[in-house]
């Protein structure tokens, strides 16, 4: 169970992602532009972000960079992209604590990645607590 933000300008993709995540018990909110996504993150309560790279205004990478710098994403982000320069995007996203998932994707596969990401984040949080 996690609060997940879906930042995607394509309504169809956002809709099907919302369907799959809610059916798996996650709390989902949507944003259509980068600026809207950043506002939603700053509003708080979002643990994980699933974002597209190409969005009007701020790109998904820009949103991730800002959110990371402000500590708005405790569980990181999954960046979806259909661009051909995925290697360069993956390097940039990795430095910001996210992972890249290419389009076209399988919703169940993406769900597995989301679960792994959340598990890792939870394990990291436990370690930090134990260390504390």
């Amino acid at each position: 169970m996690a609060a997940i933000l879906i930042a995607e300008d394509d309504a169809h993709i956002a809709r099907v992602l919302t369907l799959w995540l809610t059916r798996n018990g996650h709390e989902v909110c949507e944003a259509r532009t980068g600026c809207e996504a950043l506002e939603r993150l700053r509003a708080g309560g979002v643990e994980l972000m699933i974002t597209d790279v190409n969005m009007p205004g701020l790109s998904g990478v820009d949103v991730l960079a800002t959110a990371g710098a402000e500590g708005l994403l405790p569980c990181g982000a999954i960046v979806l992209t259909s661009r051909c320069d995925q290697r360069e995007i993956a390097e940039a996203v990795r430095e910001l604590g996210g992972v890249v998932h290419p389009k076209p994707f399988s919703p169940s596969g993406l769900l597995t990645v989301i679960e792994q990401k959340l598990s890792c984040a939870a394990a990291g949080a436990r370690r930090e607590r134990d260390e504390a």
Partner: protein, 637 residues
């Protein structure tokens, strides 16, 4: 006279010395032998003639003396003897007795003396008829002849002696009876010696003349070619080189002539060879010049820049394209050092390619026509020469770079455009398969999404195929009557939903009557849909898009139909007006890149209108909207 060469020549070059010496010796021997035989014969003949003459003369003198004695006495005889000795060339005359004592002599001093014993002993054998030689060769140069005088005609006794009157010795002489007249003549040897001397002089002269003739002939033969050469050299008048054939001497008897002819032949061959070499050199020079000029002309006309570096990096040649690319005048590069012309990074980059010339450096150069990207490649002139010497090729790769950029942009967009509908199709299909949706409306929405995305993929693929066909010229157009008003209405209706989604006011203005044109309805509709789709795509929400049709009718059914699509969108900078019709070109603007598109739409529009014999134009400015107008002929061919 001509001698056979094989006989006359010594081996290959001339007469053997022994032949000439033998011939000369033989000639002299013949002359000497002939002289000796001739002398011997003459000697015998002369002796015989001399003796005969002496005998006859002495006999005649004896009779004269006898007569003088008988008629006039001893004095007359003595006078006769002196006259004979003086006028007849004899040495001496005398009348002697049998003992050889001289009674009367031509020389009075000799009277009373004795003649030589051998002559006196022979006196008695001498007859009174014929004179005889009583002492030949008593001295080598003298002979003694004698004749007996039997009677002394003078009156008196035989023993009486002539009275010796004072002053007259002859009359006082005693003439013995019988007496003998003894005449001493010049001997044969003496005469012969004189004759032989002159004969020898004659023969020696003859031999000398022979030798002279031989020497003269040899000298003349030796000098004749020289004279001929001299004469011909003088007659050449300074044109020796052109008249070498005239300098040949046709005298095969002379070795010098043969040597001269070989020399002339050698010179002639050398001259011919020299002329051939000069001709070849002239031809090669001409060809080199021709090739060089042609090569320079070719290099000058080459679209690629060429710099030839020699002498450690000095520019020895720069063609026109190189000067243009570097932004300098045509003649200012030659002679400069390459480091004055090309920046260090370029030189280091092209030299890093080594001998293979496999490395190149792309460098942007700002020129009058804007920035151009030039690719520098260097190929060494000589594999063993200076590494800085070589040929630098400069290729304007701006267009190539732009094509690469357009290709990358196309791949970027087409990849995105393909993956986005595929993502939806896969996600919704998996959602349906997974049974996540149970209500009817949601199911229907899923199916509609899959269907819509499939159509989107289909349009994209069709666009790519269309542009490919138009590019290679294999596009087929189905010409027929196209009712423009109907076609435009259909397209506007199809795009109405998109306009409504962005709250765009989509208007259509048609004249009351539009003629039907000849064309491919589907392709024309697709072209108009492209223009209208672009207008809606790049017009912000709340904007306005208007489709206007006008007609310019002419007599005879000719004329044009104009379909204009105007919008109040973002507009296009005029510098992009030409290029937006190129394939895969998209304006480098965030507002454009954020919109889906492949950069193929306007290229398809332009090619479609062109194939219908029409034109498409654009009027636009940033922030002031755009107007694209298709002008189509009514009767397209």
């Amino acid at each position: 006279m001509r001698w056979p060469k094989t006989y006359w020549r010594d081996g290959q070059d001339g007469l053997p010395s022994w032949v000439g010496l033998s011939l000369t010796g033989l000639y002299l021997g013949l002359v000497v032998t002939l002289g000796m035989v001739s002398l011997r014969f003459q000697r015998s003949e002369q002796r015989f003639a001399e003796e005969e003459y002496a005998r006859r003369w002495v006999g005649m003198l004896g009779r004269c003396v006898s007569l003088a004695l008988s008629e006039n006495g001893t004095a007359s005889a003595a006078a006769e003897l002196r006259r004979a000795a003086r006028e007849s060339g004899v040495l001496a005359c005398a009348i002697v007795d049998r003992a050889g004592q001289i009674a009367i002599a031509s020389d009075p001093e000799q009277s009373g003396r004795m003649i030589p014993d051998e002559a006196a002993s022979g006196l008695l054998a001498v007859s009174d008829v014929e004179a005889a030689m009583v002492a030949a060769h008593s001295k080598p140069q003298e002979n003694l002849y004698a004749i007996r005088i039997r009677e002394v005609p003078h009156a008196g006794t035989p023993t009486s002696r002539p009275s010796a009157a004072p002053g007259d010795a002859a009359r006082e002489a005693v003439v013995p009876v019988p007496a003998w007249l003894v005449v001493r003549t010049v001997g044969i040897p003496n005469r012969w010696a004189a004759a032989a001397w002159w004969s020898c002089v004659g023969y020696v002269t003859l031999a000398g003349m022979g030798v002279f003739w031989v020497v003269y002939r040899i000298a003349a033969r030796a000098l004749r070619p020289m004279a001929t050469i001299r004469q011909r050299l003088l007659s050449c008048q300074g044109q020796v080189a052109e008249q070498l054939a005239l300098l040949r001497v046709n005298d095969t008897m002379d070795n010098a002539a043969a040597a001269w002819n070989r020399f002339v032949e050698f010179i002639r061959e050398m001259r011919d060879e020299l002329q051939a070499l000069q001709l070849r050199a002239a031809v090669e020079t001409t060809l080199d010049t021709y090739r060089s000029e042609r090569l320079t002309a070719v290099l000058s006309q080459m679209p690629h820049g060429v710099l030839v570096l020699e002498d450690g990096g000095r520019i020895s040649f720069a063609n026109r394209s190189a000067c243009r690319m570097l932004g300098v005048s045509d003649e200012s590069l030659a002679g400069k050092e390459v480091r004055e012309v090309l920046p260090e990074p370029i030189r280091a980059g092209i030299l890093a390619g080594g001998r293979s010339g496999s490395r190149w450096v792309d460098h942007a150069i700002d020129g009058a026509d804007g920035a151009t990207t030039v690719r520098f490649t260097m190929v060494p002139l000589d594999r063993d020469g200076d590494a800085a010497d070589g040929i630098v090729f400069m290729q304007d790769v701006s267009q190539f770079k732009e094509m690469e950029r357009a290709r990358d942009a196309f791949l970027y967009h087409v990849t995105h455009e393909l993956r986005t509908p595929l993502t939806n199709i896969r996600a919704y299909a998996e959602t349906l398969a997974g049974g996540l949706i149970d209500d009817e409306q949601s199911l229907r929405d899923c199916y509609n999404v899959i269907s819509g995305e499939t159509e989107r993929l289909q349009r994209l693929i069709e666009n790519i195929l269309n542009v490919s066909q138009l590019e290679v010229g294999t596009a087929r157009l189905n010409f027929g009557e196209v009712y423009v008003d109907r076609m435009v209405r259909d397209v506007v209706r199809d795009q109405q939903a998109s306009a409504d989604a962005k709250n765009i006011d989509l208007r259509l203005r048609l004249p009351p009557k539009l003629p039907a044109i000849r064309g491919d309805k589907e392709r024309l509709a697709a072209a108009l849909a492209n223009l209208l789709g672009n207008a809606i795509k790049y017009t912000p929400a709340g904007g306005q898009v208007e489709v206007t049709c006008t007609v310019d009718e002419e007599a005879g059914g000719a004329g044009t139909v104009k379909i204009a699509v105007s919008d109040t969108g973002i507009g296009i900078d005029p510098k992009h007006h030409e290029r937006i019709f190129e394939k895969f070109y998209r304006v480098d603007d965030q507002r454009v890149e954020s919109q889906p598109g492949t950069g193929l739409g306007l290229a398809i529009v332009r090619e479609t209108v062109r194939l219908h014999g029409g034109t498409v134009t654009v009027e636009s400015a940033p922030g002031r909207g755009s107007t694209f107008q298709m002008t189509l002929p009514v009767n397209a061919s």
